[in-house]
Amino acid sequence: MLLIACPYCGERPEIEFSYGGQAHLARPPQPSQLDDQAWAEFLYMRSNTRGVYAERWRHSRGCGQFFNALRDTTTDHFLAVYKRGEAPPPLSDEAQPTLSSEGGPTPAAHEPTAPRERSP
């Protein structure tokens, strides 16, 4: 189980949190002017980064706050947590993951969906 450092409450076990998917996805300011491809990009395309990923979490069974985190998806190490509305903090050299990311921390999350999938 992950230990997640809520910026408001400190380290807590993962079961206190809900996952919110990719961070920094902004709803298009002029939705009516988007074509279908742009809508599909906004609704369905996620960077699915292998490496450092900017993502949203919510301390849903704690303070209830949303916040963002940088996590290396190849190790599940949290490299940084920061409050919503803030830009991702720069990573120190030691914190840099060994694998380069496909998309990196991208401006991008919207609807929090934490899928609990069926098994096979």
């Binding site: 992950l2 369905y44 998806t73 599940d76 934490a114 609990r116 999938e117 069926r118 098994s119 096979p120």
Partner: protein, 419 residues
């Protein structure tokens, strides 16, 4: 090259002669500089696609590139459940195509994949479950897919260990049963396809990671850069499951996927006690018994995306809570091991088997948490798509563009899984 043929007689003969003289099942070739087609990903889907390309489309100068060892990814990590009782017409056609191929796969490959149609029973615990499952039963019957409704007593007759008392947290209110569903031996599927493909001349190249995709001036696929050198091919089929996003990004193609850890576990082996496959989507319990005697249990996905092939224990605990309540006589069984695989999940929980915007690049992905059941059918239509540069009618709806055009095949909403 010719292969030893397996039969009852050959087994008896080899065992009488102290098992000397068994041949290697497939070669370990060096990669050639040029192939007519290359499959990236040596799981069941990729090896199967290579087999059908060689067998049905006459393409024999082809290779399967695998980063690790064949069958070492999700093919070797899943809980081997096979069924085709999906709601929508497109899905029913695809998954039932697969079940039909499963039924004769051991004979077709001359390799015992141990397909066992022992029945897959999906439990209903709420009024909503009952309504959804009955809708599935009717929809499946319209599509020629067998599926029947059982009341709790009938469910217990079919699966005696099942607890149908009404004093548990989520009592069993009924079940949908697909008798043609069941299990198969997952490793044997990879090995059987590998052996049969190799016999037709396919090069299976392990420990070969794709690090780049070269494209020509027209944008079409030209070659793959790999950890074992540059391999030229005008056609590349990507069948890389949880790592599909990473491979496709090498060609600048984005696919609507997210990769999640999915865990499974097995108990210590016990004598035959569990005659079928039971699934409970509502409380996340998936269980069958392997021929070795282990109870094979599938858990849910972890909450977050990851490429680590491991997940958190509380996900397994949640599943075991449900198992122990549904099957109280398993409470004192010890669990032997657990593991995780990385599954590629699409927004509508249906796969993508399609051409891509890059000429010569094809993708088979998005199988999410249930790809094993589809292995033969998926491989078969993917091979068709690669060979003819156009989709088979069965996989024609499973495009990337369906997300742009609004033609989702929304098995997520149909699955009645508590999201």
């Amino acid at each position: 090259m010719s292969k030893q043929s397996f039969s009852g007689l050959s087994l008896i003969w080899r065992s009488l002669s102290k098992h000397r003289g068994w041949q290697t099942q497939w070669r370990k070739p060096q990669p050639k500089a040029r192939y007519d087609a290359v499959i990236v990903g040596g799981g069941g889907h990729g090896l199967g696609a290579a087999y059908y390309l060689a067998k049905e489309h006459g393409l024999t100068n082809i290779a399967v590139l695998e980063k690790g060892w064949i069958g070492g990814g999700n093919t070797g990590r899943n809980t081997t459940i096979i069924r085709s009782n999906y709601l929508f017409n497109e899905s029913a056609a695809l998954y039932d195509h697969s079940v039909k191929l499963w039924e004769n796969l051991s004979q077709a490959l001359n390799y015992n994949v141990m397909f066992s149609p022992r029945g897959v029973m999906m439990l209903a615990h709420t009024v909503h479950d009952i309504q959804v499952f009955k809708r599935h039963v009717h929809a499946n019957r319209c599509n020629g897919v067998d599926n029947e409704w059982l009341d709790p007593v009938q469910a217990k007759e079919f699966c005696p260990p099942l607890n149908i008392e009404d004093n548990i947290r989520y009592p069993v209110l009924g079940a949908a049963l697909q008798r043609r569903g069941g299990t198969a031996r997952h490793d044997a599927v990879a090995w059987g396809y590998a052996r049969a493909a190799d016999a037709l001349g396919v090069d299976i190249i392990e420990n070969c990671e794709v690090t780049g995709i070269r494209r020509n001036a027209g944008g079409a696929v030209e070659a793959l850069e790999t950890s074992r050198g540059v391999i030229h091919s005008p056609k590349v089929g990507v069948s890389a499951a949880g790592h599909t996003s990473v491979i496709m990004a090498l060609a600048g193609v984005h696919v609507p996927l997210e990769s999640y850890p999915l865990q499974a576990l097995v108990s210590e082996p016990v004598k035959p006690i569990f005659p079928c496959v039971v699934m409970s989507n509502t409380i996340h319990a998936y269980i069958s018994q392997s021929d070795k005697g282990e109870l094979v249990i599938g858990a849910g996905t972890d909450a977050y995306t990851s490429y680590t092939q491991r997940g958190a224990l509380h996900v397994n605990t949640h599943t075991l809570d449900a198992i122990c309540e549904l099957f109280p006589n398993f409470r004192r069984l010890r669990m032997l091991r657990n593991w995780g695989g990385i599954v590629d999940v699409t927004p509508d929980r249906s796969p993508i088997i399609a051409k891509t915007p890059v000429p010569g690049l094809y993708v088979n992905c998005g199988w999410g948490t249930g790809g094993f059941k589809a292995t033969p059918g998926s491989a078969h239509v993917f091979a068709w798509t690669i060979a003819r540069d156009e989709p088979h009618p069965i996989n024609a709806p499973f495009t990337i563009e369906r997300f742009r055009d609004g033609y989702l095949i929304d098995e997520a909403a149909a699955a009645a899984v508590a999201h």
